[in-house]
């Protein structure tokens, strides 16, 4: 009996061994390398971290990063809540179609979607042309290469990550609660605010955490829409490594980003069931 259980356990390990090996070789090992480099390049010691803490440019970049991530999160929550709510409160006939529309962006590369925003928001872009054509403005508005443009595109790209956890959450809410609230004398608004909304708080937390954490390390969209003027930390790292070949500072920034993200997740763990949020999404 015991031997059998032992053999079973080994078979199990055998099955996940390839994935585990890949993980160790291509993820954990480079991570250790990065960690090591940040303390050894160009000279051994804490030099990179001292620079990290004293550089104003870096501090600015971190502030921008957290601000963009936070605003993106707020935008995604507002829009995503409405979308998810609509999906579960419209006729069953359209639910499939709406679900597909939510998932559709996943089939298209983030790069393509970000370029699409450049086409729309650029100085000679569709939006500016249309506004000038209508005579509403005489000079093109600065819709991109600033935080505004980055935010619009980020919200767009991140929206499904907000909608999916919210949907998973709303799917589990029995419509009879709101009906009961109405029957007990609550107006539509009161029933929503006091009965429905509190039940979606777990979904809201999940969505917020997911969007915020992914946004923190996002590279493509801020790089394209920011045009080098909205330097989020990922782009900053790329500059350090690709342009200035400052591997030490680049890796130190990476470690700092990793630590910051971990801190956010740990802080969130006080409010959210992480296992449920990140592993068991429906």
């Amino acid at each position: 009996m015991a031997a059998r259980a032992f053999a079973d356990r080994h078979r199990y390990w055998l099955l996940i061994l390839p994935a585990l090996a890949a993980m160790l070789i291509f993820y954990v090992w480079p991570l250790i390398q990065i960690f090591a480099i940040s303390f050894t390049e160009p000279t051994t010691g804490f030099g990179n971290y001292v620079e990290l803490l004293s550089s104003r440019a870096i501090r600015t970049s971190f502030v921008i990063t957290f601000r963009v991530a936070a605003l993106t999160t707020v935008g995604c929550l507002l829009l995503g809540y409405v979308v998810a709510y609509a999906i579960y409160n419209t006729r069953a006939r359209y639910v499939g179609l709406m679900l597909m529309l939510v998932l559709l962006p996943f089939w298209l590369s983030v790069l393509v979607r970000s370029f699409a925003w450049i086409v729309l928001l650029g100085r000679g872009g569709v939006v500016n042309d249309a506004l000038i054509g209508l005579g509403l403005i005489d000079r093109p508005l600065a819709l991109m290469h600033n935080e505004f443009g980055v935010l619009i595109a980020m919200v767009h790209v991140m929206l499904p990550y907000a909608v999916l956890p919210l949907m998973a959450n709303m799917k589990g809410i029995d419509p009879s609660y709101v009906a009961a609230a109405r029957g007990l004398g609550a107006s539509e608004l009161t029933a929503f605010r006091q009965v429905y909304l509190p039940q979606t708080l777990p979904g809201i937390f999940s969505a917020a955490l997911l969007v915020f954490v992914i946004s923190l390390g996002f590279y493509i969209t801020p790089a394209l829409l920011g045009g080098g003027r909205v330097l989020m930390i990922s782009e900053y790292i790329t500059y350090q490594i690709q342009e200035f070949l400052k591997w030490g500072l680049g890796t130190a920034l990476s470690v700092a980003l990793l630590v910051a993200t971990a801190a956010v997740i740990l802080a969130a763990a006080r409010f959210v069931n992480l296992r449920k949020t990140l592993l068991e999404r429906g």
Partner: protein, 359 residues
Amino acid sequence: MTAPSSPSVLSIRKAVKRYGTVQALGGIELDIGEGEFLTLLGPSGSGKTTLLTAIAGFTGLDEGRLVLRGKDITDLPPDRRDFGMVFQGYALFPTMNVRNNIAFPLKVRKWKPADIQARVEECLALVQMEGFADRMPSQLSGGQQQRVALARALSFRPSVLLLDEPLSALDKKLRADLQWELKDLHRKLGVTFIYVTHDQDEALSMSDRIVILKDGLVQQIGEPGALYNAPRTTFVADFLGKSNFLDVEVEGFAGGRARCRAGGESFEVATEAPPAGGRGRVALRPERIRLAPPKGAAFEGAIRQTSYLGERCHVILDHPGFGQILVSCPTWKSGVVPEDGLPVSFDWDADACVFLEDA
């Protein structure tokens, strides 16, 4: 008998509701009396929930009016109707503790905090749930949730309480206990109860009047005893308790008794007027049949099968003319000891049979 004995609180006039081709309500006419315990009884799909939710305002009627104490409420939204409601699955708000659940209807009515607090305590006492105020609904058993749902529905002192199969999720023993409590509560509070169930025992034991529904139509309305003893249709006779059915020829009528023939036997049926045309169908309750040793009673048969239920015993008899006859006898005083294959004789009193209208 079919009208309420007290002035009408709620009148339902020609209520019609269709779902596509399904007629969920087929023109219901009903008056509910002040302080009455009225039960809507019917098989699944008969339109009970539809009628109750139409009264509550969750389901819009296609035709017909609802009148509450002379005021037309047909077009009012549910929150403006002021009915208390207990939902089938209780629908206790999972994010609120027991206290806040019960206080909810009071808060939305803008009661003063002190009044709310006092009323919540009162309601908890009413359903014997003192000491549970700070529990969350998920920490309560089914029966306790049921009590809280009841307290919540009653907290704002509605004059009419709507209950949709409130006991159906509970086990049998608890259900029986809560039936007593509900009835007691109804008597104490004087609130009008409109109660939906598919359980005939529940309906019989609690109601002042029962409305029997089938396919969105009222089959019969009456007090439990009247309905049980004088069903008008095969459906009612069969749904409310069990019945044997005999198709009879009426051979004569005198002194309130119709002389009937069925299955080669003849017997008398007490009636005020036998059906015209000389043919009819009677319903015969299993517990009205007496069993005796062979030659001890009018009809001779044999026991085909028995089913022991503790306080009662159900026996299926074979009779050459009647076919199979179901008999229900108290186990402690039966004329015979039921046993498969045993030859027996049986009979019944003239007033045990009831003529049905839909023969």
